[in-house]
């Protein structure tokens, strides 16, 4: 019985964790993993659209700012790649994203959040 409870909890936790990593508020945005969950390759990403002309995607690891990107115009995707800024622990990382006029700055965690 305990094993079943743990299995249920595991499934629910994984599902909720994934929901925090990437979603859509008019445009897709959030934390995107690269080749795997643990290769230190991850992205803060904000798609264009919904009238936005300015988008920001910043990366943090263990709460410390490691770098970020700003894009302007109507068609570019903000795409801050962690490897551009060094080599950081993926599961302890977050992205802080905003899209002017669409959604304000908020945080998305790695799907396998461990910090």
């Amino acid at each position: 019985m305990l094993a079943l409870v743990c299995a249920f909890s595991f499934g629910a936790i994984v599902r909720v964790a994934l929901a925090t990593s990437y979603h859509t508020t008019c445009v897709g945005h959030g934390f995107v993993h690269g080749g795997s969950l643990n290769d230190a390759s991850f992205f803060g990403r904000v798609d264009p659209g919904c009238g936005s002309t300015l988008r920001n995607c910043y990366l943090y690891t263990y709460g410390s700012y490691i770098g970020g990107q700003t894009v302007t115009g109507t068609s570019a995707t903000c795409n801050a790649w962690s490897r551009s800024f060094g080599y950081y622990t993926e599961c302890a990382s977050t992205t802080h994203v905003d899209s002017q006029g669409v959604f304000s700055n908020h945080v998305h965690k790695a799907a396998n959040w461990c910090a």
């Binding site: 094993a3 599902r15 994934l18 929901a19 700003t70 570019a76």
Partner: protein, 194 residues
């Protein structure tokens, strides 16, 4: 075929975990797999190092790599150059080559004349902060001018595939770097990062 005890238990746990996923989904909405980001993945063989510029300090040169994505977007990616190779600097200061994958900033040059981005590199134990403006222009762009925080106007010359890069010392706010783009027909457009 009869299932053994451990197999039955394992199957029950997998099934229960799936029920857990399903139950949690009732509270958190559809799974993220439903939301697919626009692909910035490179088309094989479409990349080229378009331009390099010296670092404002004594670091490795900066380079801009242009490529086409599998979704048809025009992409631009900034990095460091070492012995003709494109890559990035690790925390220990070593250079790590980076094959083209999905690290670029991608846009649609059919709807606007340039893809424009700024990367922000905070200070580290080894390096001073950098602000790097980069992008990709379509062929009918005649001139790109950036006005720096000191008021100096800097013309940028795009490479063969339209890539351009301007590395600056310090942490510079995007609003201090307005970009004026002039087309061959004389029209101009200013991107003021607002």
């Amino acid at each position: 075929m009869r299932l053994t005890g451990p197999v039955k238990t394992g199957a029950a746990m997998v099934a229960t975990a799936a029920i857990g996923v399903s139950a949690a989904s009732a509270f958190v909405g559809p799974p993220p797999a439903v939301v697919t980001p626009r692909s910035p993945v490179a088309q094989p063989g479409s990349d080229r190092i378009d331009q390099t510029r010296p670092d404002p300090g004594s670091g490795l040169d900066w380079g801009v790599r242009s490529y086409a994505s599998t979704s048809g977007a025009s992409c631009t990616e900034v990095g460091r150059m070492s012995a003709g190779r494109f890559g990035h600097i690790r925390a220990d200061g070593s250079f790590e080559p980076a094959a083209v994958r999905e690290g670029g900033t991608c846009g649609n040059l059919a709807v606007e004349p340039v893809v424009l981005a700024i990367n922000h590199y905070p200070a580290t134990a080894r390096d001073a902060p950098r602000t790097v403006l980069f992008g990709r222009a379509r062929p009918d762009v005649a001139a790109i001018r950036v006005t720096g925080p000191d008021g100096t106007e800097r013309p940028l010359v795009a490479g063969a595939a339209g890539g351009f890069v301007l590395p600056l010392a310090g942490a510079v706010a995007p609003t201090a770097l307005p970009v004026q783009v002039t087309l061959t027909d004389g029209q101009s457009q200013t991107f003021d990062w607002r």
